[in-house]
């Protein structure tokens, strides 16, 4: 027992004296997570966020017509796509758009309302932010649509507009004028309704309500975080596993084989040191995950234990792969050949939820896929200690088998002829 602790201590000290490697192993997967988050345009918390254009609008006309024009941006789905900020001072608005603080600036000039009613030309001015790629185009298209709609209204209701304008100039509308305009507009709508809104297809809709409760719990972070976290465990396990080659190169492996401590204790020491490091990694990562992705704190202890034991199993697997190879270069190839397919199939690069069913099924049968699925269940609260204990026993069994095979191999062909 004393030498086992000494072996654990020895490997821990050696690892801690190379902190750069630990940081790099931790950094690679989290860099991938950050890039994926940025690429998908989502924040860390909750689900996907809607991309919104920011339209600065100067209404110099302040007429009923310009008011209708401005309010049109706030109607229906357009309100989710374009956020309108009304600005009084055109110069201030220009400065703001020049600083890149907005998608576009629309200036409605004085007399716009009268021009629409009188059917005379008037110029709307739109400045767009060249630093943005897509959103200015959306604003430009929308303003164009509004201008077209205004044109057609002018064509259809031009006479009525003239009557309204005349009444506004005189400051009063007679009852006959109001009822006349109303009747004309009503008739016009009746006349054009069949053309504008033709009942070409009668659509019957039925809403199928899916059970989305499970998906509701899996936001972007929850969907990707466990996989990326397991990727970090993979990198750690693979990185730690090549220590057998360092020991071989240093001659310490040959030396330990000549002591009565033996290679079994050396290997147990490596797994023990790996367990300490992987537990620390799990604590750090899962606590960060808990903070960023709203994972329930009460599930953390079990998640940490499960992750650490899974990591040790992966370390044992990779150590076995290292000693199976005849050279260190071959060992790197073998472990990479094992790691990347496992990462992909096991759901670390792409969530199994997003995979075709057949691939997801294969993924769930990989050791890491199984471990990852269990971790997600722990996060979701659908499994507890009682369900995890048998799984832990399986994991420990895997460690024992991998360790036994590794010890046999080290004691045999791996050390060479001496």
């Amino acid at each position: 027992m004393g030498f086992l602790l000494a072996s654990v201590h020895k490997d821990l000290v050696r690892r801690l004296r190379d902190p750069a490697a630990l940081v790099l192993w931790l950094g690679i997967p989290f860099a991938i997570l950050t890039l994926m988050t940025l690429a998908f345009g989502s924040g860390f918390r909750g689900g996907p966020q809607t991309i919104q254009a920011h339209l600065l609008l100067v209404d110099a006309d302040k007429s009923v017509v310009s008011g209708l024009f401005v309010n049109a941006f706030g109607q229906g789905p357009l309100a989710e796509l374009i956020r309108v900020e009304t600005v009084k001072d055109p110069e201030a608005a220009r400065s703001q758009i020049n600083r890149g603080e907005g998608t576009a600036l629309l200036v409605i000039p004085d007399g716009f309302g009268q021009a629409v009613i009188r059917r005379t030309p008037k110029e709307l001015k739109l400045w767009t932010n060249p630093a943005q790629q897509i959103l200015p185009g959306i604003v430009e298209e929308t303003v164009g649509l509004f201008v077209d709609a205004t044109f057609y209204l002018q064509q259809l209701l031009g006479d009525q507009f003239e009557t309204i304008a005349q009444g506004m100039e005189e400051g009063t509308f007679s009852v006959e004028q109001v009822s006349g305009i109303s009747a004309e507009v009503d008739q016009l709508i009746d006349r054009i309704e069949t053309r504008v809104f033709p009942p070409a297809i009668e659509l019957t809709t039925a809403v199928i309500v899916e059970d989305t409760s499970a998906q509701d719990q899996l936001g972007f972070g929850n969907l990707f975080f466990p996989g990326v976290f397991f990727m970090a465990i993979f990198f750690f396990a693979q990185g730690l596993s090549d220590d057998v080659w360092i020991e071989r190169k240093n001659g310490t492996l040959h030396r330990i084989l000549r002591t009565h401590g033996g290679v079994r204790v050396l290997l147990l020491g490596k797994l023990g040191a790996g367990a300490v490091i992987l537990t620390a990694l799990s604590c750090l990562s899962l606590l960060a995950g808990g903070f960023l992705f709203d994972i329930a704190w009460s599930r953390m202890p079990l998640a940490i234990i499960w992750s650490a034991v899974s990591g040790v199993a992966l370390l044992a697997l990779f150590t076995l792969l290292q000693v199976v190879a005849r050279t260190q270069r071959a060992a790197v190839l073998v472990s990479n050949l094992a790691m990347f397919p496992l990462l992909i199939l096991g759901g670390s690069l792409f969530p199994t939820e997003a995979m075709p069913n057949s691939l997801a099924l294969i993924g769930r049968w990989t050791p890491n896929g199984w471990a990852l699925a269990h971790l997600k269940q722990v996060f979701a609260g659908s499994v507890g200690i009682a369900e995890t204990l048998p799984a832990l026993a399986v994991m420990l069994g895997m460690i024992a088998v991998f360790g036994f095979l590794t010890t046999r191999r080290i004691g045999g062909r791996f050390v060479g002829a001496g």
């Binding site: 000494a6 240093n250 000549r258």
Partner: protein, 308 residues
């Protein structure tokens, strides 16, 4: 005590050790002398349990290395030919780790670590990482790691290879002190002078075979008091033929550029030898005569000089 009976080790078609037998006693330094590739390290590997022998019996302090490996390893200390240290650990951490590997614990381990570091002259830099040590210091630390548990049998596999003269002297002193304290030391080397100055008894091995064994005096006696004469120059085959006809002259090896002769009578025979060479068409450019020694014995027995 080390007992080896009929040791043979094959690696495929290659016979690395061929029917080697010897016994080394407590308190003595037993040298295995031979060129690189002679089978010395393989013999050490078999003895330490690292390399399974093809056939043979190997015992350490009465424990069968194959049948009782744990007992054998407990009394065995090994200082391997190559450095076997953790460069990123300190000297203290290294020695403590290897002490632990040999079963030392607690206060005894701490005391032994301090003692061996003091003894090897490393206590002043005990806390420093080994990667900062010079080659000689690493060699001494390698030695300290092999003896921290006070082994009754110590296997030293060419411990002075690549060591500066000062560290070499200190290492040899330490080996003598260990033997004086009662340890049985098996020392492999291909340095003749080291074997002559250090070893109480010697076995000469070449191509896996043990070709001579005994004390230094006994081995020197086996040269028959004959001097070794090296002639460099140009020697057609007729020269060898002429020299073989002379009394008490043994032609150890002959090629076109060099002749090695074992000659009774030393310098008195030189005129006769020179005349024989000259008369058979040879030409001598350089002559070297060596007194009876391990080297001359080795050359007499193998027909070759000790290879590096």
């Amino acid at each position: 005590m080390i007992e080896i009976q009929g040791l043979r080790k094959e690696f495929g078609d290659l016979v690395a050790v061929d029917d080697v037998s010897f016994t080394a006693h407590p308190g003595e330094v037993f040298g295995l002398l031979g060129p690189n590739g002679a089978g010395k390290s393989t013999t050490i590997g078999c003895l330490s349990g690292l390399v399974p022998p093809t056939t043979g019996v190997l015992k350490v302090q009465g424990h069968d290395v194959i049948g009782q490996p744990r007992e054998a390893r407990r009394v065995l200390g090994v200082v391997p030919q190559e450095l076997a240290l953790y460069e990123d650990l300190s000297a203290t951490e290294n020695v403590a780790y290897w002490g632990g590997a040999y079963g030392l614990r607690g206060e005894r381990l701490r005391k032994r670590v301090a003692d061996v570091l003091e003894w090897t002259g490393l206590s002043g830099r005990a806390k420093e990482p080994v990667e900062r040590f010079s080659g000689g210091m690493k060699r001494r630390l390698n030695f300290a790691a092999g003896i921290v548990h006070e082994p009754q049998v110590l296997l030293l596999d060419e411990p002075t290879v690549g060591v500066d003269p000062q560290s070499r002297v200190r290492l040899l002193e330490m080996v003598r002190e260990l033997a004086a304290s009662g340890a049985c030391v098996l020392y492999t080397t291909h340095y003749m002078e080291e074997a002559e100055s250090l070893c109480d008894r010697l076995a000469i091995v070449d191509h896996g075979k043990l070709i001579a064994e005994g004390t230094l005096t006994e081995l020197r006696g086996r040269t028959g008091g004959q001097d070794l004469l090296r002639l460099n120059g140009h020697f057609p085959e007729s020269v060898g033929t002429a020299l073989r006809t002379l009394n008490d002259v043994v032609l150890v090896s002959a090629d076109e550029g060099q002749l090695i002769l074992s000659v009774a009578g030393g310098t008195r025979r030189l005129p006769e030898l020179f005349a024989a060479v000259d008369g058979s068409g040879g030409e001598i450019r350089e002559t070297t005569m060596t007194q009876p020694s391990l080297e001359s014995l080795f050359i007499q027995m193998t027909g070759t000089e000790l290879r590096e």
